[in-house]
Each structure stands twice: as structure tokens, then as C-alpha cells.
């Protein structure tokens, strides 16, 4: 009987992970940023509400349906973002681009809806404690959305340059991971400021 040495085929080379790890660190940092802001908001709210004072000024009506639609748009954009990653991993350039474009359009629509809702409340920055806090924290969350959109756009450029397939999708995956976090950050902001009130 001939001695044969059986060797297993080498497994696939691990995907590059630097960008995902760095994005993960950035997500952790931004999460703490939102926690710092929202935590302070809740503490101030508690200090006002627990002795029996009002928190939201009289006459301020929070447009709940608009904020709900905005949140829904953002949640759906998570699906389209992941669709982009799925298509990119399979090398489907057209679907990747379509999915990213839809995600970005939804993000822009979200920003538009939030700004519209803020205008509808007819609150003025500098006119009160709640107003300043609402503007500051909503602004932070919107800034995260803008950064997320920008990140998606830049990684879309790289996909355009051919960065697709199992290995090449790593940058886009990192951008979508960040987008997932952005949606969670907005959800927390929306809940704390516009639902709990």
C-alpha cells in the first residue's frame, strides 16, 4: 500500500479587518458621545420633573407622526444598506450601486423630515432649556447621520473603482456597520427627547 500523505486544501484567506475594527472603535466612541449627551439630558429632565415642574414648555407640540415616519425611513435604509453589502459580496455592481443610492436618498429624506419637524414645532434655539438641549442633541444625531452618509458615499466610490467581491467588500461593510449604529443612535435620541418628553 502506497503511503499517501493527505493534505487539506488551505482555507480561504481571512478578509482584511482593519477598517472594520477601526470603525468599531469609532462606533464605541460615538456611542459614548451620545450617552454623555442623552445622559445629561435625562438627568436634567429628572431634576426638573421629579419635584413636579414641567419639562417641555407649554405650547410646544411634538409632531409625532413626522418623527415616526422619519424613523421608519431610517430603519428601512438599514435593509437597503445591507442589500448593498450582499450584492457587493456577490460582485453584482448594478445592485450594489442601486442599493447604496437608495440608502443615501433615504438618509437625505430623513434629514429633510427631521428639519421639517423641528420647524413645525416652532421652537427657537436659545429660548429655553429644553429647546437648547433638543437642538444640541438632535444636531449631534443629525451630524452622525451626515457622517454616515458621507462614509457610505466614499465607500461607494471605492466600489465604483472595483472594490467588490468577498475581500473587496470590507470597506463597504464597515460603512454599513457604521450606518447601523447611526440608526440606533437616532432611535435612542428620538425616544429620549421626543417620546419620553
Amino acid at each position: 500500500m502506497a503511503d499517501t500523505i493527505l493534505a487539506l486544501d488551505a482555507g480561504p484567506v481571512p478578509r482584511p479587518r482593519s477598517q472594520m475594527v477601526a470603525t468599531g472603535f469609532a462606533v464605541a466612541g460615538f456611542a459614548m458621545m451620545m450617552a454623555g449627551a442623552l445622559g445629561w439630558y435625562m438627568a436634567l429632565r429628572h431634576a426638573s420633573v421629579s419635584p413636579g415642574h414641567d419639562w417641555i414648555p407649554d405650547g410646544v407640540a411634538v409632531p409625532n407622526p413626522q418623527f415616526d415616519y422619519a424613523l421608519l425611513t431610517l430603519v428601512v435604509s438599514v435593509i437597503t444598506a445591507h442589500w448593498a453589502v450582499y450584492a457587493s459580496r456577490r460582485g453584482e455592481r448594478g445592485h450594489t450601486w442601486l442599493a447604496i443610492a437608495v440608502t443615501i436618498v433615504m438618509g437625505l429624506g430623513f434629514i429633510n423630515m427631521v428639519i421639517f419637524s423641528m420647524n413645525r414645532m416652532e421652537i427657537e434655539i436659545g429660548s429655553g432649556q429644553w429647546q437648547n438641549l433638543a437642538f444640541a442633541i438632535t444636531g449631534l444625531a443629525l451630524a452622525l447621520v451626515v457622517i454616515g452618509l458621507f462614509y457610505l458615499g466614499l465607500m461607494a466610490l471605492r466600489s465604483l473603482g472595483g472594490s467588490m467581491g468577498r475581500d473587496g467588500t470590507a470597506p463597504l461593510s464597515a460603512a454599513v456597520f457604521f450606518w447601523d449604529f447611526v440608526v440606533i443612535a437616532w432611535t435612542a435620541t428620538w425616544y429620549a427627547i421626543y417620546v419620553v418628553k
Binding site: V21, A31, G39, L154, V196
Partner: protein, 262 residues
């Protein structure tokens, strides 16, 4: 194998979670059941963040990554975009406080730097040949860079120079223009006479000249324009429409005014 980093981060998750729960239960929940205290919310988020880092450390494993090999095959090439983005951020910071136009300028600088940086990073991955990568990058970006930077290279010195000339007196502006053009001619003459002049000297001369224009422009812009004489209408009565004979009278100066040849 669960590496030491994953275990360390997991330990932090446990501690932060326990601390958040203890703090929340003792002081941090209001009557409606909402988490009300700063410390509880931040500790809870910290637990989640540590869990994320633990997951990342676990997914990366220990020493099995190809990242360093990839970076070694495609080394990062030098670029000015990081410094440019820092300048953009600085301009944005000052603009948010001082002037909205600077804010827009800062954002524009950041946008351009970000796009350039991304394309630069993309081109580094194309091949191991830095020259070929740079050619690919130039092919993609040159149609945008040349008009943009060329336009800025003309517009910015012109704008800054105009601030200087508008800030000083009329005679002063003339003298500055004469002096500046003399310096340029002398420098050009020097380059012609000494073609072997060392590059650092030329670069230093250009840099100093550029800095002088920038500094002068900023100072001029801050100082503001000089007062201009206003030509009043009483000194130069306007001829009524329809009047033909204008002998002895002068017309209001205007580009649209009829030219009278006597």
C-alpha cells in the same frame, strides 16, 4: 481561542454592567421607569461599547490577520490630504464662531480633502507599482483637479492681493503694485541668470512670497477697504433726455453715456 484582549474587554463588560445596574437600581430610575441618571446611562452604554470591542477582538483573533501583509504589498504613499483636512477643520472651527463664509469654506476644504484621500487610498490598492497607481489616480481626478486647483491658484492670490490694494491708500496701492511686480521680475531674472540655483532656495522664495500674500491678504481683509471718494450728482449735472446741444456742459460719466465728438 479567546484571546487576552477579548477576555479583558469581556471583564469590563461585566463590571460596567454590574455598576450600571447597581447605580440604576439605587438612584437612577424615575417614577415612569425611565433611566434618569447620567451615570447609569453612560455606564450602561459603556458596557455595550466594551461588548462591541470584545466582539471585535474575538473576531480578529490572534495574529491571523492578512492586514499587515496587504499594507506591506500596497504601502501607503505620502499625501497632503491629511494636512489639508486639518486646515479645513481649523477654518470650520473659526468660521462657526466668526463668520459663516469661513464655515462654508471649511466644509468645502474638508469635502475635497475627503474625496481626494479616498481616491488616493483606492489607488494605493491597485498594484504594487506606486508610479502606475499615481497615473491611475491622475487619470481619474485630473479632469476635476486641474480646473479646481488652477482656478483657486488664480483666484486666491488675486483676491488676497485685491484686499491688500483696497486696504491701503490709492498711492500706497500703486507703490505696492510696483514693488510686487519688481520683486517678481527680479526673481525671474535671478532664475534666468542662475539656472543652477538650488531647488530649496527657489522653493523657499516662493513659499515666503506666498506667505506674504496670504498674510497681507488676511490683514487687508480684517482692516477693511479704504474710504472711496463718492462723486456727487450736483457736480456733474446729468443732461436731460432729448436735449441735443450739450456745449459747455459735461455729461455724467457712465459707460452707457453717449460719446459726443466735437
Amino acid at each position: 481561542m479567546v484571546g487576552i484582549a477579548s477576555r479583558y474587554f469581556a471583564g469590563r463588560v461585566a463590571l460596567a454592567f454590574v455598576a450600571a445596574v447597581l447605580l440604576g437600581l439605587s438612584t437612577g430610575i424615575d417614577a415612569d421607569g425611565n433611566v434618569a441618571m447620567f451615570g447609569t446611562i453612560v455606564l450602561g452604554t459603556a458596557a455595550v461599547s466594551f461588548a462591541l470591542l470584545a466582539g471585535l477582538a474575538l473576531s480578529v483573533g490572534d495574529g491571523d490577520s492578512t492586514d499587515r501583509e496587504r499594507l506591506h504589498r500596497h504601502p501607503a504613499t505620502p499625501a497632503y490630504w491629511p494636512a489639508m483636512s486639518a486646515i479645513g477643520l481649523g477654518v470650520l472651527m473659526v468660521g462657526l464662531v466668526i463668520d459663516g463664509a469661513l464655515t462654508i469654506l471649511g466644509v468645502a476644504i474638508l469635502l475635497v480633502a475627503a474625496v481626494e484621500w479616498t481616491i488616493h487610498a483606492w489607488s494605493d490598492q491597485l498594484s504594487s507599482d506606486a508610479v502606475a497607481n499615481e497615473a491611475a489616480r491622475d487619470r481619474l481626478l485630473a479632469p476635476f483637479e486641474i480646473p479646481l486647483y488652477g482656478g483657486l491658484a488664480i483666484a486666491v492670490p488675486v483676491f488676497l492681493g485685491s484686499r491688500v490694494l483696497l486696504a491701503v491708500s490709492r498711492n500706497g496701492a500703486s507703490w505696492i503694485a510696483v514693488a510686487a511686480s519688481t520683486v517678481v521680475i527680479l526673481f525671474a531674472f535671478l532664475l534666468y541668470m542662475k539656472p543652477d540655483l538650488r531647488k530649496p532656495i527657489v522653493a523657499t522664495g516662493l513659499l515666503l512670497g506666498g506667505l506674504a500674500v496670504i498674510a497681507g491678504g488676511i490683514i487687508g481683509a480684517v482692516a477693511g477697504e479704504r474710504d472711496f471718494e463718492q462723486h456727487h450728482e450736483e457736480l456733474h449735472p446729468v443732461a436731460d433726455e432729448g436735449e441735443g446741444d450739450t456745449e459747455g456742459e459735461s455729461h455724467e460719466s457712465s459707460l452707457a453715456a453717449p460719446v459726443v465728438i466735437r
